[in-house]
Symmetry: C2
Subunit: 169 residues, 2 copies
Amino acid sequence: MEEIPEDLLRDAEENGPPASAAGGDPVLNLEGFLPYRLSVLTNTVSRAIAGAYSKRFGLSIPEWRVLAVLGRFPDISAKEVTERTAMDKVRVSRAVAALRRKALIKRRTDAQDRRFSILRHSERGHRIYEEIVPLALSYEKRLLDALCDEERHALDAMLTKLMGKARDL
Amino acid sequence: MEEIPEDLLRDAEENGPPASAAGGDPVLNLEGFLPYRLSVLTNTVSRAIAGAYSKRFGLSIPEWRVLAVLGRFPDISAKEVTERTAMDKVRVSRAVAALRRKALIKRRTDAQDRRFSILRHSERGHRIYEEIVPLALSYEKRLLDALCDEERHALDAMLTKLMGKARDL
DNA sequence: ATATGTTAGTTTCAAATGAAACGAATTTCA
DNA sequence: TGAAATTCGTTTCATTTGAAACTAACATAT
């Protein structure tokens, strides 16, 4: 049994402090706040996609990302995977270990610099990759059905700009 | 010491399986894939903001969200907080407990239905809220400096459309 | 050479997370 | 009534996460 501080369980007294303390106080409404909206949209989208391949193929999001980037760039190192997936090296290391355990990727060691790994799909890994890609693209396509062609281009440009701005705070 | 499967540590043999198996295989390039781009942008933005208030005020992201939604909607229940923050009830429960521990919010029990809580800023909580809001708004403003006024409107509309689409997959 | 520093990748440890089980209050319906 | 079902919020437990420490390989400077 866990000890629980008594006063944490008690209710507060009635009669409140600031509900909206008079003057023109600054207020933030979350539902219109860009970082919050981005977060909600992203989580919704990520969950939907992850649901598709985690159930069917037993892959976590980091594992899928590694598989995805190796589909586009075979024979890169874990270091390069971190750069291309925006995941930190711990996540990449664990995803790579998991994918190797499942025999979905293979690793060699760079002969020139033996600190570097060289990663690549296994046959099975590649088959799974080729099964998932159309699912992912189809989801993206359906999501973008919400926008017209012109909007899609605008969104593309804006995401690039926002990302650039976000990088240097 | 942890036992490590021998074959996981061995390198794969040279000569590879599919690097790009001939035919017009489907390929997905992450850096252009909308869900991925959203994820990277969101994480960058979230970290930047969280860094600002977690260091200065010792708040986690869930805690800040609860504080934020209570700034806009005082005297709502934890249930309503989950709806307005898109966080699940476990996260909200823990964030509320943490905020109460820090004496930044107060809780009463709804007399009509005693399952419901009624949450509200404490004096200190409200002061901290009023300190953070300008920081958050300023960050959002600087981020949106990347876009012109017309783009900002377009982005607003598109996020709404995308969110709607994402909700029904 | 040998010491010092740097980099790729792994491991450890403590904290955050979420699914499922739970207790308490309320509602539904026979 | 009162038994079964539902809902709010908490807790438990196993998994995921990331910061920091670490190992191994390489680079640089003395």
